[in-house]
């Protein structure tokens, strides 16, 4: 329903009892209702098979995403994603047993277009035998300045339940009845896309994230020096802070080259209250050739410092309040080289399909840790003198997309 200018003013006056934030949000929603329309995402369906292989971990599975308009103003989406995991990683070998498990994720979403505003909401649920996560999100986008600028404000909330599997005397894995933890997540985001020239577009994203609850991995352990005993170290439970606040900001610049190709540069800054400081730089190049092919190439560089409470090897047990040895919180840098090819084709005799493509993408990830050592080699080198761990992984995707 379109409100007249007088009705908008009356509505705004009537909201005088609301908080300043609510009043401002209402004002924006009402102002953002001009006659010209924005654009909803295209109707399309994608079926993907993914495979990750590296560090003695294999993860593969399908992913399906379908998006369809209902009428002129509403677009609905649904997705299914599965990870079939087979892990004998360095962490698993140190303090647990190799395992196989499946994670299934489903999501539904809706985008509603009203004038130049798009309201989006959705729900994502993920289930593993020992981890359940629900996430909901809501965002408002507004096209402005003659559609040169799009501003998006978003909010997301996540509720996780963390369990820990133990092996029964019969060798069956089941949830430890004494372990059931929770974690809550909130995210506040602001995004801006800006057309700069007839060939260049800029994207900016900022997100504030807060996490609260059990934030550690219940299977991983710290190690501390224990000279003369076993491998020269012993293992103990990780102790993480119960809260984490993170700030992330990214900027993307995309440029259309004169011979029909696109060059993208991206940078992301990240910092959190655990002391992790990270920089991500990425360059992507997209080049259509012949009539039906599009080729992509990318190079991504990532670097982070360690969390304040991270150590590969603590001097002794109970050395400090918080202690962690998750390698995701270690200092490291990584390079990812990627290449992809897309072939556009027509499906003969199927009129409701307007366009289709077959795609393949390969990425090679190389991670060099600065303070995470291969503790499995402590017997040969001595605790604390093992070689630094390196991870090489191949990531493979093949997918088919249709537009209808």
């Amino acid at each position: 329903m379109q409100l007249t200018r007088e009705a908008r003013c009356a509505h705004t006056r009537g909201s005088a009892g609301l908080s300043p934030f609510t009043r401002t949000l209402l004002t924006l929603c009402l102002i953002a209702a001009p006659a010209l329309a924005g654009v909803l995402p295209e109707d399309r369906a994608d079926v993907l098979w993914h495979s990750y292989n590296g560090g003695d971990i294999t993860i593969q599975g399908p992913s399906v995403l379908v998006r369809k308009k209902v009428g002129d103003n509403l677009s609905l989406s649904a997705s299914y994603y599965e990870d079939m995991i087979s892990s004998a990683s360095i962490d698993v070998k140190l303090s647990a047993s190799p395992y196989h498990e499946t994670r299934k994720q489903e999501s539904v979403g809706a985008d509603y277009l009203h004038g130049k505003s798009t309201y989006s909401a959705g729900f994502i649920t993920s289930k593993e035998p020992d981890y359940k996560a629900n996430t909901s999100y809501f965002s408002v986008s507004q096209d402005m300045f003659g559609d040169l600028t799009t501003l998006t404000l978003g909010y997301r909330r996540g509720w996780d339940q963390v369990f820990r599997d133990i092996k029964t005397p019969q060798g069956v894995l089941e949830n430890d009845p004494t372990f059931h933890q929770r974690a809550d997540h909130r995210g506040y985001s602001l995004s801006l896309t800006q057309i700069l020239t007839r060939n260049a577009i800029l994207g900016f994203n900022y997100e504030l994230l807060t996490d609260q609850g059990y934030l550690a991995n219940p299977y991983r352990e710290i190690r501390f020096l224990s000279p003369g005993q076993g491998r020269g170290f012993m293992l103990a439970e990780q102790v993480y802070p119960n809260t984490r606040t993170s700030n992330a900001a990214s900027v993307q610049l995309k440029y259309y080259l004169p011979y029909r190709a696109a060059l993208t540069g991206q940078y992301r800054f990240f910092h959190d209250t655990w002391g992790v400081l990270a920089h991500t730089v990425e360059l992507d190049y997209t080049h259509p050739v012949w009539k039906h092919w599009i080729f992509d190439g990318s190079l991504r560089y990532y670097r982070q410092s360690a969390a304040d409470f991270y150590s590969d090897l603590f001097p002794r047990a109970n050395y400090q309040n918080f202690m962690g040895r998750d390698r995701e919180l270690a200092a490291f840098h990584s390079y990812t080289l990627g290449a992809g090819a897309s072939y556009q084709f027509a499906v003969p005799g199927v009129r409701w399909i307007s366009k289709s493509s077959a795609n393949v993408r390969v990425d090679h990830l190389m991670v060099d840790y600065s303070d995470f050592r291969n503790a499995l080699l402590a017997g040969s080198y001595g605790a604390g003198n093992e070689p630094l761990y390196r991870l090489n992984a191949n990531i493979f995707q093949v997918f088919v997309s249709i537009w209808f």
Partner: protein
């Protein structure tokens, strides 16, 4: 230290007010609609294949300490 919720609310409110004010006095678009044909080309999309980019983003997030500001929302998981 992180940003407190009150400061965040103020920042968001200021951004909304600016956006609202900007909408009241929009400048003349310096790139005319008929000059934007390159942005209709799929190769100029920031997210040409969401099913692929979401997967790759998930791969990185589960192996790195940094997350967020990617322009899309991913679900939670115990994937480490």
């Amino acid at each position: 230290m992180g940003v407190s919720p009150v400061k965040l609310m103020r920042a968001v409110t200021a951004a909304l007010l600016l956006a609202a004010l900007a909408g009241c006095a929009a400048p003349t678009p310096w790139v005319k609609p008929y000059e934007r044909e390159h942005f209709a080309d799929p190769i100029m999309s920031f997210n040409r294949d969401p099913v692929s980019s979401t997967y790759l983003q998930h791969v990185f997030e589960t192996r790195e300490g940094a997350h967020g500001a990617t322009g899309s929302v991913g679900g939670g998981c115990g994937c480490n």
